[in-house]
Symmetry: C2
Subunit: 278 residues, 2 copies
Amino acid sequence: METRELRYFVAVAEELHFGRAAERLAMAQPPLSRAIQQLERRLGLLLFHRTARGITLTDAGSVLLLEARTVLDAVEAAERRTRRAADRPGVVLAAKAGASSELLSKLLDAYAAEPGAVAVDVMLCGPGETEGLLRTGRADVALLHRPYDTTAGFDTEDLYSEGQVVVLPAGHALANRPQLSMAEVSALTDPPLPRWPRRDGSYSDGVGPQVRDHTQLTQLITLGRACAVMPESLGAQLRVDHAVVPVPDAPAVTTVIAWQPLTRTKAVADLVRTATRL
Amino acid sequence: METRELRYFVAVAEELHFGRAAERLAMAQPPLSRAIQQLERRLGLLLFHRTARGITLTDAGSVLLLEARTVLDAVEAAERRTRRAADRPGVVLAAKAGASSELLSKLLDAYAAEPGAVAVDVMLCGPGETEGLLRTGRADVALLHRPYDTTAGFDTEDLYSEGQVVVLPAGHALANRPQLSMAEVSALTDPPLPRWPRRDGSYSDGVGPQVRDHTQLTQLITLGRACAVMPESLGAQLRVDHAVVPVPDAPAVTTVIAWQPLTRTKAVADLVRTATRL
DNA sequence: GCCGGCGATACCGCACCGGTATCGGTCCTG
DNA sequence: CAGGACCGATACCGGTGCGGTATCGCCGGC
C-alpha cells in the first residue's frame, strides 16, 4: 500500500463522496475511483458499499480509516523530524497556552542549565491540539494534562498532580462554602459552566458559553458570564475578584511530560530527565 | 513520501551499500540510486554521506531510518488489520511460549464465558518476537513481561507481578541457600547463565550456552548445563530435580496485557477488561 | 418520462519507474 | 605507477500506470 493510495482512501472515507473527495485532492473523479478499486483489488476486499445514491464504509473500511490516519500521521512525523534533524535548531516543546506556566518556566530554566542543552522552541497551543502536534512530529515533547488529554500511544512521566477548584464570581451564593461537590458544580446555571469543543470542533447543545481556549474562558469568568472547574494552580491566578472553592471529588489533574515512543534524541531524554527531577 | 521510497531507503540504510540493497529489493542498482536522490531532493537534504568507497548515514538519515521503520510497521499493520476485519475470525493474542500458561488459560476461559466473545487465536512465539507481532498487526493483543519486553508505544494494563528465582542443578553448592543476591547469581560459572540473542539475532561473547527460547533453556537446565534466573511461576514448573532459590534483589517481573493504542475493537476491549478482573 | 446526481468505464497522453550500458573516482595490487 | 576491482552516478530507453476528458449506466425525484 502506497501513502498516495491511503491519502485517497482517507479523503473518500471522510467525504463519503467520490466527487467531493476528488475536489479536495485537487484531481478528477475517475482516477480516484480507479485508485480505490485498485486498492480494494490488491487487498482482496471491499472498502465501500456502493449504491447508486452514494457510498458507505464497510467494516474493513472503518478499520482501514483508523489505521490509515495513523500511517499518514507517522509519515508526516517522519518527514518533519528528518527535516528538523538536518537543521538542528533544537527541540520543540508543546504546551497548552496558560496552563502549567510556572512548571514550564522552571523546566526551561533547569534544562537550559544542563550541560549539552540545545535551544527549546516552545509551542503554545489550544486545548486538544497538543496531542496531534506530538503525533505528527510538529513537536518533540509536550506537557499534557490527564485526564483532559489522552496520552494513548505516547510515553509519559508524571510530573505533578493537583486537585481541582471551581471559580465563581465573588458574590456568588456558594462563594463562601468551604468546598463543593461535582454534583453541586454540575448543577450551576447562574453563571453556567462553559462548553468546550469536541474533537471535530463542534459543540454540544446546552446553555453555557462556547469557549475554545483558556484565554476566552478567563475573560468570560472575569465578565461574570461563566463558572469553571480547573486545576488549583490555574484557579490561584484568578483569586483576585473571584471566589475559588475546592472540589474534592473532581478527578485530580496530573501534568505529564509526553514524547513519542522510540525517540532516541538526547535532547528529549535530557528534557524528560530534567522535568522528573523538578 | 511514498512507502516505496521508504522501503528503498530502509534497505539502503541497513545495507549501507546500494548494490546489496538493490539485490535485496530484487531490482537494479541505478533506479535505486535515483530513487534515493529524488527522496533527498524532495526533502531538501542529504540522507547519506557518499564517498567513492561507500556510504554512511547522515544525522538526518539516522532519524529517518527510525521513523521509516515505524511507518512501514504501521503500513503492514494497517493491511493486516483491514484484511482481518474483512474475514472476522476474531482476535489474535500473542504470548511467549511457556510463559504465563496458567494466566493465559484462565484468561481464555474467562473471556470465552463473556457475552459476545469471539474466537481467540493464540499465537505462541519466541522471546522478543511478541513486540514486533503487535507492532505490525499480526497480533491484536499480547501478554508481555516487563522488564524483559519493552512496552514503549503500547497501551498496557498490569496483570500480575512476581519475584524471580534462580534455578540450579539439585546438588549445586548454593542449592541449600535460603536466598541469593544478583551479584552471586551473576558470578555463576559452573553451570553458567545462558546467553539470549540480541535484537538483531546475534549473541554476545561469553561462556554460557546460546538459547533462543524457553524450551531450549529448560532442556539445558535439565541437562545440568545451565542455571537461569526466571519468574517464580516458571521456576515452580522445574522444582522437581532442581533447586529453586529466590533472588530478592532481582527486578520483579510484571505480566502485562498490551495492545496498540487507538484500537477501538470491542473484542480487544473485552479481553483487556476480562484480564484485569482475573 | 425527463432530468439530475453519482459512480464506473473507455480511451488517451505523458510522466515516471525500472532496465541496460557506461562513466568517473578511489583504493588495492603487482 | 599502471591495471583492475569496486562503488555510486549518469545516460538513455521502453513500458507501465497515473491522471485527464468524455461518456455511460443506474437510480430517485419532480
